[in-house]
Symmetry: C2
Subunit: 501 residues, 2 copies
């Protein structure tokens, strides 16, 4: 593979200067188009050999592009903030917003390469990690991120010379030793890099191998590739809007199982809605679980065990009340609760999971999501805000996201608060007639109610496709608020106990 970058390609200073004006015009034109109609984002990944001039290239790109639409991210040693969250968190916080360009130096490949070279990653684990990155890139692409990955290469003699020069320079960050190590591991590094590129080269996130011996050639080639991508982006997006059905849509959404007519029964129907609890029993039970929870939360904090709790459920099923009771058992320094409605304009500028990644807490904290990433397969599906191809692939994307959380040690608890349509009606009416509850009821609630059976289908599909062995759903009988609240807190207590064992 690397023979393609040992050709001695170069560009004379005169040729470089001659081509530069047109390159700069194209890059700016593309960037301005991107900014004026922010439908896509651009993610540029720069990888390669030490000494290949990644920083020089970067400086050129900054000189050529409008730096206001450009952010660069290096991924040196992770900060405290980053270490306390799932591995990919630092990359999600570094994603470009639509209309802008992000440059990742190394990005999600660098650690893998290092680990693989030092042998701390066996073949299967490396390949699995690569498959995850491939998946991630495909998902980002489908969510509107244009991905360009450059790999800067130098022949051995050139790298040797470059590194010795760098080691002599007074502002060298790496020093002589690092240079020697880079040369010593060069062969192994290249072998693994070739493997990495093979498994992560894809139509939506291709690798570009750049011969980096001549800086003029290197920077001009990268610049032109970016200019092409920027100029194509707009055109591509128009096609996208025009084509009524996309390839993935054509391939089909995930259909629900047809129910044999006389067998219309679902998991939801099996939730026992007749369970009752008196106010006094509730108060007693609440005092007990509340103290238990309070103590467990502090233990979890000391053990750096993060808890993420998802609340989904029908309108007026009591999500807010359950969250308030749960929260009141916790020290305010330990928890946060966030409510998710329709995404803001800023949030729409990122892949849909971004706003949830964004809210992930530091280690040892409890995070409560009042509605969550499941919006995509519930309200967005039912109301048609997301195309079938989009919500269909979301099940898998959600499962992968939750898998990242769990692998990083997060305790994930998911509740569906279930009530009957009659109970919902009763509570809606109560809300309308109670002054301090009127803000809770809107026309939209009544409209949603009319689509009960469409939502029911969506909920059932969600429960099946995301009720996984690592992140099962807890169905809560919420017809009686006391029952629901105690069940919710007890479940959290139970899960925390288990996690802290």
């Amino acid at each position: 593979m690397f023979q393609a970058a040992e050709l001695g390609r170069q560009l004379s200073k005169a040729d470089f200067e001659a081509e530069l004006p047109s390159l700069r015009a194209q890059l700016l034109q593309g960037q301005i188009a991107l900014m004026q109609d922010p439908q896509q984002a651009v993610l540029v990944v720069i990888e390669g050999l030490d000494g290949s001039g990644r920083a020089d290239l970067l400086n050129h790109l900054y000189a050529w592009l409008d730096p206001r639409g450009l952010k660069t991210h290096t991924f040196w040693d992770p900060s405290d903030e980053e270490q306390e969250r799932p591995f990919f968190w630092r990359f999600w916080r570094s994603l470009p917003q639509k209309g802008s360009i992000a440059i990742h130096l190394g990005g999600w490949y660098r650690d893998l390469l290092t680990d693989a070279i030092h042998g701390s990653l066996d073949d299967a684990r490396l390949d699995l990690a690569l498959a995850k990155r491939r998946n991630l890139e495909q998902m980002l692409a489908l969510e509107g991120v244009i991905i360009l990955k450059f790999w800067l290469y130098l022949p051995e003699a050139v790298q040797r010379e470059r590194l010795s020069q760098e080691a002599d320079s007074p502002d060298d960050r790496w020093g002589n030793l690092a240079a020697k190590n880079a040369l010593k591991s060069r062969h192994r590094f290249l072998h693994i890099a070739e493997h990495v590129m093979r498994l992560t080269d894809s139509a939506v996130a291709p690798w570009y191998l750049i011969e980096a011996t001549d800086a003029n050639y290197r920077d001009m080639t990268v610049g032109k590739t970016m200019a092409d991508a920027l100029l194509n982006a707009q055109q591509r997006h128009q096609h996208w809007r025009l084509s009524a059905q996309s390839e993935l849509t054509n391939l089909g959404s995930v259909p629900s199982l047809p129910n044999a007519s006389s067998a219309q029964v679902s998991v939801l129907d099996r939730v026992d809605l007749t369970v009752k609890m008196s106010k006094s029993d509730y108060k007693k039970a609440y005092e007990t679980v509340r103290h238990e929870l309070s103590s467990l939360a502090w233990q979890a904090w000391r053990a750096k065990k993060t808890t993420v709790i998802v609340f989904e459920g029908w309108d007026a099923s009591g999500k807010g009340g359950a969250i308030r009771r749960l929260a009141s058992a916790l020290d305010a320094r330990l928890y946060r609760a966030v409510s998710f409605g329709a995404p803001t304009e800023q949030e729409l500028g990122f892949p849909f999971l971004w706003r949830f990644w964004h809210e992930l807490p530091r280690a040892g904290r409890v995070m409560m999501f009042d509605r969550s990433w499941y919006g995509r397969v519930l309200v967005e599906r039912v109301e048609g805000f997301a195309e079938a191809s989009v919500w269909s692939r979301a099940y898998h994307e959600i499962n992968n996201f939750e898998s990242e959380l769990i692998e990083s040690g997060v305790v994930l608890i998911k509740f569906w608060l279930h009530i009957s349509p009659d109970m919902q009606l009763e509570r809606f009416k109560d809300r309308e007639s109670t002054p301090y509850k009127q803000h809770k009821i809107t026309d939209e609630d009544w409209r949603n109610r009319e689509k009960w059976s469409a939502y029911e289908q969506a909920v059932n599909d969600m429960l099946f496709r995301t009720g996984t062995e690592i992140a099962p759903w807890t169905l809560v009988s919420a017809e009686n608020k006391y029952v629901a609240r105690i069940e919710v807190i007890s479940k959290v207590v139970e899960q925390l106990k288990q996690a802290l064992k």
Copy 2:
């Protein structure tokens, strides 16, 4: 997840009989539409618990559908034929042709489940194997295969009862012991099955969990799901043809690297075309390598080492001649050579790699491909026979295919025979004026020649994107036929020697 299949759903005999006529009509209507306009194929995978009635379901499907368009494949112990080829070969030979339906009992999940239960597959390897299957299913879907995966579930008590009944039956294939084992490993099996479904549930190949306690409900639900898919298939395909640009197309094809204008040099340009060899030197060299090769081929046969040799190159670059010289060193029982032109109608009925899988030899043989799977990224790309989205994803598909070959122990050697445009012209003219060579030259050759630079770009992209660390390309200087032939045979000798060490 499995709670969704413990609901006691059932269908009375009367209801079943009442719904049956309409189901049968729909199934047949869908199947006939599929057969009359064979643009898609249907792959049905049936998995599930022992005792869940997979065979009974199958018999119902046979009664309802036209069995002429239906093939069932069980994957019991692999045959000799199958064991001597890469793992997925048995599945490729069992794929449905467009217009038809294939049913896989277990399919590519069964072995994995078994291995995982017996602990012979650690977590990372299991997940990697699942990622491969997910990839494979996505590729098949993009190539026109509609995939439906059913998972038949029984509650524990029901399974226990069923298996004890089966064990008592005189024609029971499995016997009492197997039934006991199935129950003993039930919990572990379900845990792994849930994991498998989570990682391989996708929009293009979703899993359907079927409650199989009641046979009427089970068969009616599977039947209806199939009928829906069949009836949708046609409509979906029309959308496909209509939408000028598909989602993956919109996401972009893999662009070539732009060349800085004064740096137009490629890997191909670096092939030294000035090397010469006299006829007498050639004859001498040929005798030597020929005997070496002959002996190595027999050693490889005894060692069951399979060799696959790919010949690609310009028209008139001497592929045929090189193959003939290579072949004449081999015992005719040990090798085959196949030439690939435009796909036949039958071949077009399958995913594009099918015809190459189809030709994979038994263990220890040598297979020569005169043109190959690279047609997709060469002629199909340049001539526009494949859309950009299609040839762009082919690089990765090809790399995966070759990786399967190599993992199974195949020695894979890939040649690109390179000549100059002048030499091609000379040989074309010679072909025209030599009577016994005239069949080798057609108008198409002249037309292709006009597209030299487009082909050159495609070749360069191919060399980079598929010249991997496990399957590098050998660029052969073919301006002089003697040089080329000796280089080809010597390379094969060298690779075989290394493989047999």
